[in-house]
Symmetry: C2
Subunit: 194 residues, 2 copies
């Protein structure tokens, strides 16, 4: 069975919707990356660290290697990565920046398997309507988006009322480009339900 190297409830939900059986195993990683790394490569770099940490854990426990899936999602506004907000103020500031603008969401995916590694990144463009200060404060205080890259979740209130347009894989914005993951699994001979 596939190992999902992520605690994200959204990634678990997406694999469930895709009917891909999995179990979760996570090892801590720093989620840091070299300053010189091009932004587009950051999510795959971090996902690779997550996947390798779990592989090491399996190896040191003497457990046979299994297929490991890791992912990392970043929000990029004007060539700057917008991380998870560390405070209420930072969440509010972030949403002010995203308001009325178009940004990129890039999810990097790394699959470790018998034949080595398969890695790819998927980009979706998201356009926010102009948000009012009241909307931003309401959302931050009610939904507490402190564990969300870019301080929002597309499937929550702010995503439903505030997003004008998505270009690309919607589920990529939720944290996993599931349809591409399924295609790669099929290519690797790992069958989905069908």
């Amino acid at each position: 069975m596939l190992i999902l190297a992520s605690q994200s409830p959204r990634r678990k939900t997406l694999l469930e919707w895709a009917e891909i059986p999995f179990e979760v195993m996570v090892s801590d990683t720093s989620e840091t990356y070299p300053d010189t790394l091009p932004i587009e490569n950051v999510p795959v770099y971090i996902a690779r660290e997550k996947a390798r940490a779990v592989a090491s854990q399996l190896a040191s426990a003497g457990t046979p290697q299994r297929m490991i899936l890791a992912a990392d999602t970043v929000v990029v506004l004007q060539d700057e990565i917008i991380g998870k907000p560390n405070s209420r103020e930072e969440a509010i500031t972030t949403l002010r920046k995203l308001s009325g603008n178009r940004h990129r969401v890039i999810t990097g995916v790394v699959l470790l398997h018998d034949a080595g590694e398969t890695a790819f990144a998927d980009t979706t463009w998201v356009s926010f309507h102009p948000l009012t200060e009241e909307q931003i404060v309401f959302y931050v205080d009610k939904y507490q988006p402190y564990d969300k890259a870019g301080a929002y979740a597309i499937q929550e209130w702010i995503g439903v009322v505030g997003i004008q347009q998505v270009e690309g894989d919607f589920y990529n914005v939720m944290g996993l480009p599931v349809s591409r993951v399924v295609q790669v699994l099929n290519e690797l001979g790992i069958r989905n339900q069908v």
Copy 2:
């Protein structure tokens, strides 16, 4: 409180996510339209019929008029409306047509209110990966998409594993372009939560 003139569980969910209070009231309509009507105008035409049927029902009961929201969603492939499938075979045939292709989803929205009527339609483009025959049959038999325009729901298995790209409002494909509805409600002075 807003009246939603639709039984669709997906539209109810979307209004709940948007935190718009509503109650449901439905009157039967034929959902037919004149042959000469341009495709783009069909969903608003049908939504208007739904809204007016509820308004008549309120009027004949002597109930004061309330704001009524109705919507209708059509799937359009190469200038042909693909309706709800009437049989297993039709559902399978429909998905074969959508497989590997890009189609439009148009939702028409009609709001009846004190100042008259506000109507608009919103279009989202959806691209399916090529689907295998096994995937199509699995989906139809397990998910029974007989009440779905185009024989699929974007938030179900087939949407998660089979859709390559969305261009436009994702929630429009689920049956209601919620963010535009919220904007119109705001313009009409009906406030959302914030």
